[in-house]
């Protein structure tokens, strides 16, 4: 297995280095090199695996297991089909409370979702499976999460990256080389353009991150904040404000652009993970794979 001992810190730097490489490749002369970016995405995935594992280990050391179990059990009793904004908000908060710093991983994982229904199920299961010892796969219900998911309007051929108006609204044009389909996306939030959203959910979706963040910070230690920052940086559905990214970038808006242009990513990269403990990290990685999708599109 990947040697994680001294590499946890390296995992973080590897992630940022990899992101920079992907970002720089967009402006390289000669176009994006598919092979190199595929390899970089593998490194990104590996580093993320290690990083998430380390963080989980840290989290579980800090939290009482019983407390986690209890709260998670309560959450499971909630009807996930209930789309009432309040309940959803409460659910969101309760979830955040349940998982504590984990919420930064699981909760935002649910916000990301994926372009494929399978990933949706995983999202839902990941959310409920915030305790790693629990089989989150039993109670998936994607409908709520879909509201927050990046379920793009199905565009068959090209790599469509729905984006929303946001405070960092930029236009990005994506071209699939083979089909020559050009799509234009606006960077920023991803929920609002979601085809499954209605106004209520969108509003809710817009709210919940804000709520979520508050909750997060309430639970966050300094490490946790770093966690939320770092993991949010890797997620597709971004938090509203990129300034929360404390990554070592000089131009965070570029990174947010980079992040938001990715759709659901290399699902093939996810196929290796069968570990229950990594169900949440699966979600994390679902978004991770998303990073590379835009590269592939070129």
């Amino acid at each position: 297995m990947i040697h994680t001992m001294e590499c946890a810190a390296d995992a973080q730097s590897l992630i940022s280095i990899s992101l920079m490489k992907i970002h720089n490749s967009r402006t390289q002369r000669g176009g994006i090199k598919l092979h190199k970016n595929l390899l970089v995405s593998y490194v990104l995935r590996n580093a993320r695996q290690v990083y998430v594992k380390e963080k989980y280990a840290e989290i579980y050391r800090m939290q009482q297991y019983e407390e986690v179990m209890t709260v998670c059990n309560e959450i499971q009793e909630l009807n996930p089909l209930d789309l009432d904004a309040e309940d959803a908000g409460d659910e969101e908060q309760a979830r955040a409370a349940c998982c504590g710093e984990e919420a930064s991983l699981c909760g935002s994982a649910c916000h990301r979702g994926a372009a494929q229904p399978a990933a949706h199920a995983r999202t839902a299961s990941a959310l409920f499976g915030c305790s790693p010892l629990e089989d989150g796969g039993k109670e998936p219900d994607p409908s709520y999460y879909r509201s927050c998911c990046m379920e793009a309007a199905p565009v068959p051929h090209c790599d469509q990256f729905p984006a929303n108006g946001s405070t960092h609204c930029n236009i990005t044009t994506v071209l699939d080389l083979d089909t020559h389909v050009v799509t234009t996306v606006e960077n920023g939030y991803l929920h609002q353009d979601c085809c499954c959203c209605d106004a209520l959910q969108c509003g809710q979706g817009a709210q919940s991150p804000a709520k979520k963040r508050k909750v997060e910070f309430g639970f966050c230690t300094s490490d946790g904040e770093e966690v939320s920052d770092l993991t949010s940086a890797r997620k597709r559905a971004k938090r509203e404000d990129c300034s929360y990214f404390h990554l070592d970038y000089t131009d965070t808006s570029n990174i947010s652009n980079l992040i938001s242009i990715f759709g659901s990513g290399f699902t093939g990269l996810l196929s290796r993970q069968a570990d229950l403990e990594q169900i949440c990290s699966k979600q994390v990685l679902a978004s991770l794979g998303a990073w590379t999708r835009a590269i592939v599109a070129f």
């Binding site: 297995m1 040697h3 002369r29 092979h35 595929l38 590996n46």
Partner: protein
């Protein structure tokens, strides 16, 4: 800082036992090349980042003197590819030459294929050492004479002139690849060749430029599911229906074009299971095959990944028959190599004329393995310590711990100086080695 360039050479089996000590003559040092070089008898073609092709030739007058055989001089220079801009995709197409392949010679002229990321060109290189003189209607400078001034007729004659080497593009094979071309390979039937990009392999006829056949397509229906790309491809040296392609996952696929028009299903799959104890962040990168070459007899294939060279027997698919660790001392440096992008370097490998010695390229060093005796030596090539005809001494790199005298510590290696490309003369023990800016030619000492 010690130069990172090291050359190690294959030994002993190719040479009489008297030459146990590795000695190499540095025959020539030229400037500013990134070499994709191929030997063809006495000709060596190199392609550089600027789209130029330079062809070297052995000095003819010294051919009979063995110790001077390796003197190579510039024979011809021409601009093969220019930078282009794809307006539809808003992409600039680099003029950098990715591969050069010679065609078998059929007449007095030489033909080679050179390719950049998108376009393959067939060049004819011909010599002219005579010119006609004595036209009736034209002056020497080409102006036409007034017919009224002509009083007698004569037959033009050919008179000798200084040798002029002309390179003219005969075919341009364009618009067939969406992704970057990484390989071309001429078939043994002398009529067709293949070109491979990241996801597809196309079959061309040398005479036909407006059509190519797609024979391999590994692009997934959904690009999200992409897990591997094609990294190199080559035709079998004798069987014109067989070719092999390597992938970024470390697998080789042997395909038979007789089986179907689209060879997506391989005939043979060569793959060695990954050693789980060596797993690291960079496992996928270092297992990606950067080059594959058939042996001259067609029985073996050699593959190069970042840290090793493997020899595969075509009849055994589950593991290579031989594995050589090329620069194991770099395994601990993978993180910094990733940061400076050196881990993405694609190294070539090549067989020598009699298939006994495999000659992989390595970043700082060029390692040669004598497959008969499994000895290898490391040499260093740099401008500082190289003069023409100088004899090189072997060097050693130590990975860590105590460094013996004359050894080079791995930490002092300069990763910016590396050898990526190599070519071995088909008959003689002469190798061409290319660094970023220099071309070195080494010959085994004969006396």
């Amino acid at each position: 800082m010690v130069p990172y360039l090291l050359i190690s050479s294959a030994i002993t089996a190719a040479f009489p036992p008297a030459y146990m000590v590795l000695t190499f003559h540095v025959a020539m040092v030229v400037g500013r090349f990134e070499v994709k070089s191929r030997f063809k008898r006495e000709l060596l073609a190199t392609g550089d980042k600027g789209g130029r092709v330079v062809i070297f030739q052995q000095e003819i007058e010294n051919k009979n003197l063995p110790q001077f055989r390796s003197e190579y001089n510039v024979y011809s220079t021409f601009q093969s590819h220019e930078p282009e801009f794809d307006y539809l995709k808003s992409l600039e197409i680099e003029e950098k030459i990715n591969k050069i392949r010679w065609l078998p010679q059929k007449n007095a002229a030489q033909f080679l294929l050179s390719t950049n990321d998108k376009t393959i060109k067939l060049w004819k290189i011909s010599e002219r050492d005579k010119r006609p003189e004595g036209y009736n209607l034209k002056e020497e400078d080409g102006r036409y004479k007034d017919p009224n001034t002509i009083t007698s007729l004569r037959v033009p004659v050919l008179i000798p002139m200084d040798l002029m080497v002309e390179a003219s593009p005969r075919r341009v094979f364009a618009n067939a690849h969406t992704y970057h071309i990484n390989s071309i390979s001429v078939n043994s039937d002398d009529e067709t060749y293949l070109s491979a990009d990241d996801l597809r392999i196309n079959l061309w006829h040398l005479e036909i430029t407006d059509r190519s056949f797609n024979i391999v397509d590994i692009k997934p229906a959904n690009m999200e599911e992409l897990t591997e790309v094609i990294t190199a491809a080559e035709f079998h040296p004798h069987q014109c229906n067989t070719f092999v392609y390597s992938s970024s996952k470390g697998t080789l696929r042997l395909c038979d074009m007789r089986a179907s028009a689209l060879c997506d299903k391989h005939s043979k799959l060569f793959e060695e299971p990954e050693d789980p104890s060596n797993r690291s962040f960079f496992s996928e990168i270092i297992s990606s095959i950067s080059d594959v070459k058939f042996s001259h007899n067609g029985r073996y294939m050699m593959t190069r990944d970042y840290l090793s060279v493997k020899i595969w027997d075509l009849n055994m698919e589950n593991r290579p028959v031989e594995t050589y660790q090329v620069h194991e001392y770099l395994r601990s440096k993978l993180c910094s190599l990733y940061e400076n992008d050196c881990i993405f370097d694609k190294f070539e490998c090549c067989w020598n004329g009699n298939d006994r010695i495999s000659y992989p390229r390595a970043p700082p060093k060029k390692t040669g393995f004598d497959r008969g005796q499994r000895r290898d030596v490391t040499l260093e090539a740099s401008r500082e310590n190289s003069k023409p005809m100088q004899v090189l001494k072997p060097r050693k790199v130590c990975a860590g711990g105590k460094r013996k005298k004359d050894e080079i510590s791995v930490d002092s290696l300069d990763f910016n100086k590396k050898i990526l490309h190599t070519a071995w003369h088909p008959q003689d023990n002469i190798i061409a080695v290319a660094t970023t800016n220099n071309l070195y030619i080494f010959q085994d000492k004969v006396n």
